[in-house]
């Protein structure tokens, strides 16, 4: 499983999806269910950084696509 470490906290990478040329990471703290978080990957000078999303709509759109992609596992 892939994890990322942000400021000493480990997050499980649930998925990584490119939407409109932006790479979104779907993360969760493994100790807690139902706490999905979406971040986007920013490339600066050849190094990757994580950044929050700008608007509610961007988060909802990213979540919609995640749920569509995983609808078979989820049972939708």
């Amino acid at each position: 499983m892939d994890y990322i470490n942000i400021n000493g906290n480990e997050y499980l990478i649930l998925d990584e999806i490119i939407i409109n040329n932006i790479r979104y990471l779907y993360l969760s703290l493994e100790t807690s269910l139902l706490n999905i978080m979406v971040n986007k990957v920013i490339n600066e000078n050849g190094k990757e950084y994580l950044s929050g999303l700008d608007t509610d709509d961007e988060v909802i759109n990213a979540l919609d696509i995640y749920f569509q992609r995983h609808k078979e596992e989820i049972g939708l």
Binding site: M1, E16, G52, D57, G75, L76
Partner: protein, 266 residues
């Protein structure tokens, strides 16, 4: 037999009052499904209350009220995700690999349970606290892991869609063309954001081929498929939206598959 009070009906209507609902949440697909399902159940509730009391319907309605709490969980999950995901400062991060399949399975199981309940689906729910049962299915886990590491947007070219139209028109024999169109829809729905555009392209090609050689196709095909856009097609079938089309045809597809299995997979 349990009685449904007027107060409960009033509360149920308040629950689906669109004017009270966050418009951004209303645009969410899963949430829309939950709302639609709720609305249908309330209609049934009214029918039951003001006509004859049917015990089976009463059970259904009581179940709906129990599920209402869980729908709130779905909405909360979205709201929390918005809170956690927005306006965060840019941070450095490090990728790591670990053997943690169990946690992942539990996460998927937990989230599945909420979503399935939230969407009013009648499918089997994953038990949130019975991780060991799910862990007996290693193939499912491997598929999930595989999919998470290979994500790019699924796209279909015009050529692929044209081929789909040709294949459809070249079928020989009697077919349920509405079913076949739905199978195309399912395939193109792999990109949910572009599915409408893809389906319109599909119907464009179908229409073009039929019009070029209208005598070369059976009356059945012409009657079933000669629409220039997907929207025209679904309107001809009485659907008000693609959402409604997907929902109704999805249910029919399940029934169709069940019948096919029962009759030996034909």
């Amino acid at each position: 037999m349990q009685d449904i009070t007027n107060e409960e009906i009033k509360r149920a209507f308040q629950y689906i009052d669109f004017s009270q609902m966050d418009k951004r949440m209303a645009s969410n697909i899963a949430y829309q499904q939950a709302i639609r399902e709720t609305y249908n159940k309330i209609s049934q509730l009214i029918t039951t209350k003001y006509s004859n009391n049917n015990p089976q319907n009463i059970d259904y309605i009581v179940m709906f009220f129990q599920e209402k709490e869980q729908r709130q969980v779905l909405e909360d999950a979205y709201r929390n995700a918005i809170e956690r995901s927005k306006n965060k400062e840019q941070v450095d991060f490090r990728r790591e690999k670990k053997n943690a399949q169990n946690q992942f399975v539990k996460f998927i199981a937990g989230f599945s349970a909420v979503l399935v309940i939230g969407c009013g689906s009648s499918k089997i729910l994953f038990p949130m606290d019975k991780g060991t049962e799910i862990e007996k299915e290693p193939i499912k886990v491997e598929q999930t892991v595989h999919r998470t590491s290979n994500n790019t947007e699924v796209t279909f070219s015009d050529k692929e869609i044209e081929k789909m139209a040709k294949d459809l028109l070249e079928l020989e024999g009697n077919y349920d063309y509405d079913y076949l169109i739905y199978k195309c829809f399912q395939e193109l729905f792999r990109n949910p954001l572009k599915v409408e555009s893809y389906m319109n392209t599909l119907f464009n090609y179908i229409h073009q081929y039929i019009e070029e050689n209208i005598d070369g196709y059976s009356q059945q095909i012409v009657a079933a498929l000669n629409y220039s856009t997907f929207n025209e097609y679904i309107a001809s079938r009485g659907f008000k939206s693609i959402y409604e089309y997907r929902q109704v045809m999805g249910n029919q597809n399940i029934e169709y598959a069940t019948l096919a299995n029962e009759s030996g997979g034909r």
